[in-house]
Structure formats: C-alpha cells, structure tokens
Symmetry: C2
Subunit: 194 residues, 2 copies
C-alpha cells in the first residue's frame, strides 16, 4: 500500500510553508521543506544555497538561453543534476512514510508514484506583500517587485520541468486562498482530507 | 451589511451544479441555476434556449468574428444585451439575500458588489466523461469530444466578458477536484466556509 503524501505548492508569501508545517503537526507526520534542501545538497554534492535557489526558481534573466548554455558537451547541466537529486530524494521520502512536502514540484514528481493530496496555496498581492514584510522584513525593492519576480521565476521553473501550468486549478485537488480563508482554516481543510 | 453569496464556477460534467444545490440545501439558502435562466429570459425578452446557450458559451466557430458580426450599427449585439440582463439579474439576487449562484460569471459580476465565497469545481476528463454519460446519456459524439468542446467555449466566453483566465486557481477562494474529493466532501468544505 502506497503512503499518503500531502504536496503543497504555494505562491511566495502565501504562508504555504506555515500551512504545511501546521498540517503536518496536526496529523503527527513529518513536514519536509528546509530539510529537503539539506538532503538534496547531500545527495547531489551541490551547495545548499544553490539547491535552495535553483531547485525552484528559474534564474533572473535569459532563463531558457541560460539553461542551454549551462549544459556540457553531453547535454547535461548542473541544473539537471539538481533536478535528478531532488527527484530521487522526494521519491525516497514518499516511499518511507506519510508526510507533507512543500514545493519543489513534488506534486509532479510523485504523480504516479504515491497517493497524493495535491494542494496549491495562493493569496492576493496585497496580502502577500504584507506577509513578506512581516516575516522577512523590508528590503530595498518593494514587496510587490519581489513577489512579481519570485512568481515569474517559480512559474518558469515549474513549466520547464513539469510541462504543466503552475497555478492552474486543474493541477490540484485543493486550491485555497490563504489570504481570505486564513492559515487555520486552510490547515483544517487540508488535514480533514488526509 | 452585504449578503454573503457563494458563486460556483464549474467544468462541464464536474458535478458543480449538484454541489451548488446540495450546499444551498445544507445552508437553507436558495440556489440559482435553472431559475437564473428563467429570470434572465424574462428580463431580456430573449428565448430561454438562447439564454441557456449563449449566456455561458461562445458559439462553436469563429467566435470573435461572430461576436463582431452580430453587432448592429451602434456596436450593440444581442449577446451584449444578454450579458447586461444576466448582470443585472445576478446583482439583484445578490442584493436580496444570501444564496448560491451557479455559473454565468457570477464571481466576476459580484466582485465588488457582494461578500462572495468564490468556488471552482473541476475533475479529470475521465471522471467527467463517466458522469455526463450517466447524467445526460450517450450521444453520437464521444463524451470526451463533448467535454473538450464545452470547455473551450465556456473558457472563451469567460475570457471575453471578464478579462480573467478561466480555471486559474488565483481567481477562486476554493478550487476543488470533485472527482477525487467526491460531491459530499466538496459540499462539506464549501458549507463550512460560509
């Protein structure tokens, strides 16, 4: 019998990570988010910062060109290496026990390999801007600029590796607006479907 | 104080209409679906069949060309007339009392006019194909062909009148896969957020 896994895709600043952690705590199962970066870095030999940044985000400019330029003569690139490590860490975790996995295209990676509850968490620009200032503090760029940039790069990454459209309702069993529903309600809805 | 309204957008064959009716029954509030067609026909003087078909679906071919060709010298078209009647009926209903409204771009029409819980119901092609054969019976065309056609026309209609992308998770507070979650769970989740 396959383990039941909750995958949480989320917009930056939507509180998806907090929702993942609280859902896991409520269900007494592990939640993989930062721990995932650790494991992927270990498996691939790549630096943690590289894994954190490039395992979910396309680079800032010339992404497709970049991706091709980064490949060596065998057509292989560091980014593909990272994707393979990410994929195998996620598959191993899902094999071991029921858990929550935040981000990193886990929904796509586990598609045919596990019994998944696939969740997408989003919120309005206004709510997310408030949240990132509250959680990560002020930066030189406006919160709106930071969000637009992150959204764009996460979407590009997702589409390149999964061939699915990021944020399309049909890709998820549950898509929730955390800005309207609030963190607690989202946790309750998700946990009840487990 | 504005009334609280549940708007249900749905893919054809996803059971969204049934979910709307059952949610309304559970909350003891009215559900407008067929009744909406009746009211819009009355208000506009247009035939019920025209309202049913053209109030949610783009025509089968040459939709944009058609829409322009249908306009008279003042730039006005029957379809715009229908849209205006639809809009004013929905606004009036929302003004009156809390209710569930199924389809007809109610989410967009009520955007700034009411306190809405906006819901999108979807399901896989396979589940929807099973459902439409069960509910509406066999037709000459395969269920998959019927679904693809309906999806395409509903999406085109929605985008022309609302300037939003149909089925994008961000447009809805709740987006639910009725094929996986089942009708009863969807009703429960929606009713609990009311």
């Amino acid at each position: 019998m396959k383990n039941r896994i909750i995958t949480i895709s989320r917009e930056f600043g939507s509180g998806g990570r907090t929702i993942g952690k609280e859902t896991a705590a409520k269900l007494s199962i592990p939640c993989y988010d930062e721990e995932l970066i650790e494991k992927i870095a270990e498996k691939s030999g790549l630096a943690r910062e590289y894994v954190r940044e490039r395992g979910e985000y396309a680079p800032t400019t010339g992404w497709i060109g970049n991706a091709l330029a980064e490949r060596d003569y065998s057509g292989h690139s560091l980014r593909d290496e990272l994707w393979n490590a990410q994929r195998s860490v996620i598959l191993e975790l899902a094999e071991k026990e029921p858990c929550v996995i935040v981000g990193r295209c886990a929904d796509y990676i586990l598609k045919d390999a596990a019994d998944c509850l696939t969740v997408f968490i989003h919120a309005s620009m206004k709510k997310r801007a408030e949240r990132i200032v509250q959680v990560y503090g002020e930066r030189e760029e406006t919160p709106e600029k930071r969000l637009t940039d992150k959204d764009k790069r996460r979407r590009a990454y997702y589409q390149l590796y999964t061939d699915m459209i990021w944020g399309e309702a049909k890709n998820y069993q549950l898509a929730l607006d955390s800005g309207i529903l609030g963190i607690d309600r989202c946790v309750k809805i998700i946990a009840e479907q487990f």
